[in-house]
Amino acid sequence: MSDTRVPPALAAAVAANLRPVRPLASPWRRALALLPLGIALLVGMPAFWSWRSHIDVFAPWPWRALSPLETIAGLLVLAAAFREAVPGRELSARALWALLGAAGATFLSINLVSAASVDVAPATALRWLRDCFAMAIAFSGPTLLLPAWLVSRALPNRPALTGALCGLGVGFMADAGLRALCWDGEHAHILIAHGGAIAMLMALGAAGTTVVERIRR
C-alpha cells in the first residue's frame, strides 16, 4: 500500500482549472446529430450534379431507394467511431471485425442489387469513373472534418482506427448520394470509383486524426 495522498503539484494543477464539465453525449446521440449532414450529402450531391451538368436522368428508382439505407449504415459506423474514441470503450477485436464485415457486406449487397451492365466506350467509362471518384471526395472530404472534430474532443487510444471508421461512415453517406445520381451499374465502376472513394476517405480520416492527436497531445 503506497501513499494515496494527491501530490501537491498535481493537486495544484487540478485545482487551477477545476470547473463543472458537461459529459459528452452518448456515441449514438452524437452520431444522430450528424443526420443533417447525411441528408445534405444524400440530397446535395444529386442536386449539384444535375445543376452543374444540366442532366435530369438519375439512377433508376430502386437503386435510389437503397441510398437512405446506406446513410443509416454510415451513421451506425460513425457511432462506432465515436464510441471507439472514448477511453475504455474501445471496440473489441471481435466487434471491430463484425463491424467491418457488416460494412463490407452492406456495400457489396447494395452493389449486387444495383448491378447492371452499361455499354459505353472505354473512354466514357473512364470519365464516369473519374467523375464519381472526384465527386465523392470533393463533397465528403470537407464533411469529414466535422466527425473528426467530434472524435478529437474525446481521447482516442487508436486514432488511426478511429479516423478510418469516421472515413468509412462519411464514405457510406457520400456513396448514398452518389448512388442516387450514378447510373453506371458495372461492378468495376462501383468497386473502383465508389469503393475507391470510401477507401480514400478512410485513409484521409486515419491520417488526419493521427496528425491532430499528435499535435494536440
Binding site: 503506497s2 494515496t4 501530490p7 463543472p20 464539465v21 459529459p23 477511453p87 475504455g88 470503450r89 474532443r153
Partner: protein
C-alpha cells in the same frame, strides 16, 4: 465521479486515493524506474482531469481510467522514441541541456532578461527552474505537470532560442 465532474476537488482526491495503487501497478512493468513510474501515474491523473468530459456517468470508472492510462503509456513510449531518435541525430543535445555559463562572455543581463521575456512561458519556466534554480528535470516535470521528456525538450529549446537571440543582440552592438 459525478461530483468530480461537477467541480468538486474532494471527489478528485477520493478518486485518486481509490485508484492510484491500481494505476501504479499498471505502469510498474513498463516504467524504467521509480521516478518514471511516478511521472506516468501523475500524467494519467492529469490527463484524466483534462479529459473529464469524456467520462459517461452511467459507465464504470475503472475501464475509463485504464483507457486513459493506456493512452498516456503509448504517448510516453512515442515521446521516448522521438527523444532517442533526436539524441542520436543531434550530438549537441547534451550541450544544449548544460547551463550556458561560459557562453555568457560580454552579454549584459538586460539582453538576457529581454531574451527570456520573448520565450514561451512553458519553455522559460523549464529553463529557469533547471539552469537558474538547479532543479532536476523530474522535479520540474512534477512541478509543471508535464513529462520529464517534455521538461528536457522545453529547456533545450529555450537554450537554443536564447543563444539565437543573444547572438543577434551581440551582432547588433
Amino acid at each position: 465521479m459525478e461530483a468530480y465532474q461537477g467541480g468538486d476537488l474532494g471527489a478528485f482526491e477520493q478518486l485518486y486515493a481509490a485508484l492510484v495503487d491500481d494505476v501504479r501497478r499498471y505502469f510498474s512493468r513498463s516504467a524504467r524506474d521509480r521516478r518514471a513510474l511516478n511521472d506516468l501515474v501523475q500524467d494519467t491523473f492529469l490527463e484524466m482531469h483534462r479529459s473529464l468530459r469524456t467520462y459517461l456517468p452511467e459507465l464504470p470508472v475503472r475501464p475509463w481510467v485504464f483507457g486513459i492510462a493506456r493512452n498516456v503509456s503509448g504517448r510516453s513510449r512515442r515521446a521516448a522514441w522521438h527523444w532517442d531518435a533526436r539524441s542520436s541525430t543531434q550530438s549537441a543535445t547534451e550541450e544544449d541541456l548544460a547551463a550556458p555559463v561560459n557562453d555568457a562572455r560580454a552579454i549584459d543581463f538586460l539582453d538576457i532578461e529581454n531574451a527570456l521575456a520573448c520565450l514561451p512561458a512553458g519553455h522559460r519556466d523549464s529553463w529557469l527552474l533547471h539552469h537558474v534554480l538547479g532543479w532536476s528535470f523530474p522535479a520540474i516535470a512534477q512541478h509543471l505537470g508535464i513529462t520529464v521528456v517534455a521538461a528536457k525538450l522545453r529547456s533545450s529549446r529555450a537554450t537554443r532560442a536564447l543563444r539565437a537571440a543573444l547572438r543577434g543582440s551581440e551582432q547588433d552592438k
